[in-house]
Symmetry: C2
Amino acid sequence: MTKLWKITENSFDPRRLRHFETALTQGNGYLGTRATFEEHFPGEQRSTFVHGVFDDAPIVFSQLVNFPDWAQLDITLAGERFSLAEGQLLDYTRELDLRTGLLTRLVRWQSPGGRVSKLEFFRFASLKDQHLTCQRLLVTPENYSAEIKITSRLDAGTETIRYHHWHWLEQAVEGPAIWLRMQTAATKIEAALAQRVLFSGASQSEITMPDVVKMPSINLICQVETGQQIRYEKYSAIYTDRDCPDPKNEALKTLAQLTADPWEAQLQATTKAWQKEWDRCDVLIEGDHEAQLAIRFSIYHLLIAAPRHDERVNIGAKTLSGYGYHGHAFWDTEIFMLPLFTFTRPQIAKNLLSYRFHNLPGAREKAREGGFEGAQFPWESAGDGREVTPTWVPNPANRKELIRIWTGDIEIHISSDIAYAINQYWQLTGDDAFMARRGAEVILDTAKFWASRLEWNPQTSQYHLSDVIGPDEYHDHVDDNAFTNYLARWHLRKAVQIAAWLQAYSPEIASQLFSKLSINDQTFTDWDTIASQIFCPAVNDRGLIEQFTGYFDRTDVLTCDFDPRTESIQSLLGIEGANQSQILKQPDVIMLMYLLPELFDQATIQANYDYYTPRTDLTFGSSLGPSIQAIMATRLGSQADAYENFMRAARADLEDVRGNAADGIHGASAGGLWQAVVFGFGGLHIDGDSWHLQPHLPAHWKRLRFKFVWRGHEQVVDICAEEEKSCS
Amino acid sequence: MTKLWKITENSFDPRRLRHFETALTQGNGYLGTRATFEEHFPGEQRSTFVHGVFDDAPIVFSQLVNFPDWAQLDITLAGERFSLAEGQLLDYTRELDLRTGLLTRLVRWQSPGGRVSKLEFFRFASLKDQHLTCQRLLVTPENYSAEIKITSRLDAGTETIRYHHWHWLEQAVEGPAIWLRMQTAATKIEAALAQRVLFSGASQSEITMPDVVKMPSINLICQVETGQQIRYEKYSAIYTDRDCPDPKNEALKTLAQLTADPWEAQLQATTKAWQKEWDRCDVLIEGDHEAQLAIRFSIYHLLIAAPRHDERVNIGAKTLSGYGYHGHAFWDTEIFMLPLFTFTRPQIAKNLLSYRFHNLPGAREKAREGGFEGAQFPWESAGDGREVTPTWVPNPANRKELIRIWTGDIEIHISSDIAYAINQYWQLTGDDAFMARRGAEVILDTAKFWASRLEWNPQTSQYHLSDVIGPDEYHDHVDDNAFTNYLARWHLRKAVQIAAWLQAYSPEIASQLFSKLSINDQTFTDWDTIASQIFCPAVNDRGLIEQFTGYFDRTDVLTCDFDPRTESIQSLLGIEGANQSQILKQPDVIMLMYLLPELFDQATIQANYDYYTPRTDLTFGSSLGPSIQAIMATRLGSQADAYENFMRAARADLEDVRGNAADGIHGASAGGLWQAVVFGFGGLHIDGDSWHLQPHLPAHWKRLRFKFVWRGHEQVVDICAEEEKSCS
């Protein structure tokens, strides 16, 4: 069933250009490259991002920097430039093989001058050597013989959404390779790229390598006869000084180590590396082709964005596949994407959580700037872990009035989300060393933040959190958001437990850490007291938890009142209109019940699900909503709802149902989809020191099979529909 | 006395790199190019701007777009890249000849490898053909013989302060030339550049022209013997589709028309064109070398920024010589720079004033957006005449608080400044056709604006203008700024006179225009009434006019209280501190007395001069201040003060006394300097239908000679010191 492993584009539609650029993005956890055409196309959005290479930028403070495109080629056939924008397209197929990461494009093209050529493009980013990319082009002139020119280049002038981050440093032609050194303007990260070309199939050919400043190039000119096939291969190596002290030499070394005819060997090595990944991470679904392809598509996109050798980077909301959110990381990583890694690739989860540990200085700076103690993680985080949420963005309708973005100031639940993910990682892996050396410091210092942030109210004799934004961002500047308050309470109590555990596990580490953070046993007693005094809204007489104080007083409308629609309720009502209504951008109380299920009985969950669901914009609100909604539906036995929301998440980028896949993959939706299958339909749940299954497969699913790692040991779950039990 | 025509740099000091880049800028009224080194130098700020080629940009809305640098050269001598950042500089002289616009650089350089070479660079932008630039390089290896490589290129990746405006369109190698077509991203202005190279002097040489995409190049490789001199010349042509429908073909045509050995012919043609300019515009000062050089330097910089063939562009505050203010035009043009042109080059003045006429739609849009009638000119104006003053700019100290720039909202005196300049042009030239066809529409429609903007106060039975900024920008949000109110009154009265004149001059034009603007005789009667009811602060018991209501209540400090200092009073006191004090950024009441001298008697001028001068930051406040201050001092017989302020203006860019010459030439200071000489020391003034002289030469000046055009006829003024009368 290879088609359940392939994303295929059977005909070329320029209107879907940017959607497919995103969907067919390639990568290897080090770099990500959108599937733009080698030869360019008008309106394309080319990008190659390398993890951690951020630079300062106006308005958004910091952004991932676009690298020179390693796959670019200029092809001139008998004097006519090859471009799908001209001539006639006789055949077209493009296919991304999720099993190997190989992207193939087969084109038969008739030039404006009537010449027909067959062009076959192949390319991949090596998963074996993350600094290497490989591409191959086969060209066959069908009804002419002529001169063919192919040019490759390294372009130091590469821009990032019109912004120019690169300073050219140096370049040369050296042996069979060209190379280029550049540096980012403000962050001073040095990058080096090297490239070489192999060519065969023509009787006459000449390769020149003009050392044009800022654009070293490789030019091939050859004479090709009718029906003759030429083969052009290009190998590119990319390093930065985040990876090694001398990136240029490493890049040249990577190319020098290639064999004389490296294509097959490299493709095999990558295929093997991918096999290993899929062996650990694949989810098999029988009886539902669309679901099968969608889950693999989601896992693929998370795997190509997952840092394997770097613990100082995170995954941005749009992975490495587009310009959306500029590479900034949100809670999307810890709460939505991370479980896939925690359960199947714990080493990657550890890298991602270590990013937060390494960036504690930025979180401490943020807490201090706000007048608080400890560490407060930024809502948006980039290269160095400081807050990079835009504060003011241009208002397209009025040059004098900017729009204030408040999430960076008051969407404070992220510190608990990170603690939650660390605890989940610990629970799954039993990685005590990580918890002792890194996790505890994060959880305890963010607990310190909560203790200083919580507001004591003598009238109520309780702690409150006023002026916040919860997961549902349609409502800002609210008081006592249930999600935030419950998580803060959970956080303080977990911190006290972990402090006690650490004292038992290693008194020495505990003593060093407590001294570093200026905390002691009295602190933990205080935290316990504070936790018990946090106002966490109780279930009311209708069985409901109020999302925040006063939520039920807002205008009560349902999303169906606006049907049919093709945009979010917020764009229909306006920012203030949505704020004044009860419509949610995404589950909020329900999200709380997803993360802390032990606190709520089934009847409460049902009542809240029934109330909040028709008020949640699951189609055009947040892409984070549908997968969680699906999981909660499975827990309540609402299989139709579950599947509907599962499919919403499944189609976000595969079908572009939200209309914004062009900006990049919805990483949280992809991660949520895996959770919906494994925790929702699969019904996997962890209970203390053991795991359990309560499968709720959709009616038409015949089989669900997945693996995960439980305390260092691989577990295989294989559920067959008829008996809803293990098949094997 | 050729040295009084030359700006010379006798030794190279990297700390003054950007200052000299500005000071030695070349141009021809179409383009301006900073004097960056052909071979690049770290920390340089390269720019070539072409008038009118603006593109959208974040924060500043619109900015002049940097073009590929036509003068750039990569020079490799026996394998070593020529760069003043390496090796040893044995001799260095750079010289800009103001008479011809020729920039010469003589360098003897010892490479890190010990090779000594003599390099002589020459370049100019043709004043004969504004689309052509010419450069020549002579290289002589002194103690070695080896291969020399020289590369020229057209770089489509050229950035503008890190921002990337250019979309590459097309390029080719065609005959002996390379060419490149590009387009600005938002404004869609197409530019074409073409280049060709001539070479001689080596026994063996090869020129290749690699058609590298986005960077067509010309590579020369030659073998040179010790002591042998090679000659390399490059000719570049630049067109945009603002100039002609097919810029690429025009650029190629310009190059094709060059003779086989074009250097001498082109230099002669340009020298001749410059001679014609200097014959009209030169100011001769005998007895003061510094003043002589400074006035020529100022005139040179205004002449190279002055559009000769384009009436849809203006001159930005920093001319075409730097990134400061992004090419935006302010009142600096009409009040400070324009008199030089009005008096010596009326055709250029007409072009500049026509820019305002063509941009009336933008001014009408601004008035409408503010809720007013008629036309209100933008405080900052770029390509299309809409308001482009930044509204919010980043605050480097606090990411959450931006800085609001208010000048675009409330510095409203510019509409009168433009009317004033049109009237002055009319007075000097007697160009009735211009006034009837263009000037009147500007003056009448801006008068409509004033009539709607003025606020009737029934308590005072007067019209007021509250919440404005006058010329002195240290004080914002002030009420009844004397300068603004007096100018508005002058404006309304002048509009009534011009309406009457137009009805007499051409009843047909008058009727069409009045109907277009919906004004009639009743309107003019109303304007007269309104004008007589505008609150224009009278002289108080101390003989003073209060700059704005409540000014005298602000904290009274003097600038000398802060001596010695190296920064502005505003940076010492802070924005709010300066606002609360009586310190001025530049003359305001005194500026009013400069523009409308007929309203004030000598005693009043003296009293106000004596009061405001010690409160005006003439050293580090606005660069617009000193020249006006100098003129008013001459009128009051304060020759020492006059000369001191004259020298402040003279040294702004020549000596960089303000420390910001790197951002570009202070165009208003340069224009003010000419006014200080002609209207101040020369004492030229216009009185109705005749002109008069009241010279006040500085004691050490022996002679002052200048020309101007009075109603179409050239006038020569030649003042000798002894008798203070005409010399000839």
